[in-house]
């Protein structure tokens, strides 16, 4: 179900923990699975985690599927719902709001024609509001697909970023 490359990456996670504590690797393994699905998926439904892949990860780590499922639903960066090719998460918490975080979210929302929480009809973008990313000094900040942080996202910088993604 997962590529050899993903499995090798999961093995590297497993190696970080004591031999009898493979469960510790479940967070990393789910992240790796999600990245593979995001990159390979052609539709929003194919880009998120689902029960089959979660079960696969659980079996691979020899833990009960429910243990992996609990983790996938507890941490909010695991996409459990259909998601666009580019998931954009804008921090709107107070420190960022004071430096344009809310304005940035509104600007993107207008520009893409989708409300916060929505995915565009072509399945290209999902726009979300996020909590503090520990980068408030760089506000406005946003994350693209969980792993790429973009700093100082003024309207001009947003235009540039969206053009790049297009």
């Amino acid at each position: 179900m997962l590529s050899a490359q993903s499995l090798a990456a999961i093995d590297r996670e497993v190696a970080k923990y004591p031999a009898d504590q493979k469960r510790s690797a479940v967070m990393g393994a789910l992240r790796i699975a999600l990245v593979e699905r995001r990159e390979a998926g052609k539709t929003p439904e194919e880009r998120c985690l689902n029960t089959e892949v979660i079960e696969f990860v659980a079996n691979y780590l020899q833990i009960p599927p429910v243990a992996a499922y609990e983790v996938a639903t507890f941490y909010n960066m695991y996409d459990m719902k259909p998601v666009g090719q580019y998931k954009i998460t804008v921090c709107t918490n107070l420190p960022c709001a004071l430096s344009g975080g809310v304005n940035a979210a509104e600007y993107i929302s207008k520009k893409l024609g989708i409300a916060i929480g929505e995915t565009s009809a072509d399945g290209k973008y999902t726009l979300l509001e996020g909590e503090c990313m520990g980068a408030c000094g760089d506000a406005p900040v946003l994350l693209v697909n969980n792993h790429k942080m973009c700093s100082f996202m003024t309207p001009e910088a947003i235009d540039k970023k969206l053009a790049e993604l297009n």
């Binding site: 941490y75 520990g134 408030c136």
Partner: protein
Amino acid sequence: MAVFVNGVIFDGIDTSAQDCWKLEAYVARGGYQALRRIIESKMAQEDVIAEVKNSGLRGRGGAGFPTGLKWSFMPRSFPGDKYVVCNTDEGEPGTFKDRDILRFNPHALIEGMIIAGYAMGTKAGYNYIHGEIFEEYELFEAALDEARQAGFLGNNILGSDFSFDLFAHHGYGAYICGEETALLESLEGKKGQPRFKPPFPASFGLYGKPTTINNTESFASVPFIIRDGAAKFLEAGKPNNGGTKLFSVSGHVNRPGNYEIPLGTPFSVLLEMAGGMRDGKKLKAVIPGGSSAPILPGDVMMQCTMDYDSIAKAGSMLGSGAVIVMNEDVCMVKALERLAYFYHEESCGQCTPCREGTGWLYKVIHRIAQGEGRPGDLELLDSVGNNMAGRTICALADAAVFPVRSFTKHFRNEFEYLIEHKKPLVDHKWC
């Protein structure tokens, strides 16, 4: 933007240099000398701990607990596995210092953790890294590889009989994992729900083994303390408040960023370093220690110095050192509404007073902000808060209540006005 002044952790770093994080650059700045000295002189574990105690270093993660004292609680001679764990799950709104430590000086943290491992007789450590900073996680992994190759990590470090290895664990989006026992659960591959204490991590920590958890900045201060001496660190701050501290300044200032300055520096000086108020607006209020710390009016802040004792005397907490600056255009009801939403979102839900209480706080503040507040709402906020604080497994519930109490105390007129007139006293602008 990152600015460092007279730093201990950022001493001599040119953060604009691409390679400033690398081992070679760290060694050129005097890095790994402390570890080398400890190992070559076979320094006694208790002497390392005594040095940290004497430095006056207090935990930089929020609670300000003396680090050396915490280390002395570890059962050093316990024969089984023991762990040191670093908390880089920086998610307290306003705090962004640990990310800069990972980006610009990861080896200071690595060296600090190795020294901690030596002092407490542990063979392994983990650094738990906030989910949203994946690039820093990858860079930290690269720094670990460098340290391993150079013989600072692994078996028989620098030819001694001391062995220690260190690994990075990446979170995936849960503020609560910053709470140390939630962090341990998460590190074990479970939901990040805080544990009942006692037992404390020093006796029952990761995988049920003795564990010491410190913040990134706490560990990263240790190499300096050992290399240059406890006295020098202590002198860099003020009595009972040893060292320099990283302050993350955000909000309505001209130059948001991290400032590493001696504890005890006047707030007015820090504000000036950060370029003063943006657009020359008037300072209205400051949250001096991250979103969980009580807010203080601007004029009170202007009388404070930036250290644990002065900020506590003024009625707030130095917390993580996140200084959130607000100008006269901010409606305090709107500001509090956003924070209340955050705590409601992030409650892990296992204690009823927190799960229900954070929901109530948000609901009531939201309706006041919408101009739909009812007479008695401020009293309602009070009573909900009283039923939460101190009645839960972890301090998130208290962290949710502190802002409510302090906002409604210092800026009560704005709340009353909005409830009575259905419109805000301040024509709110975020920025």
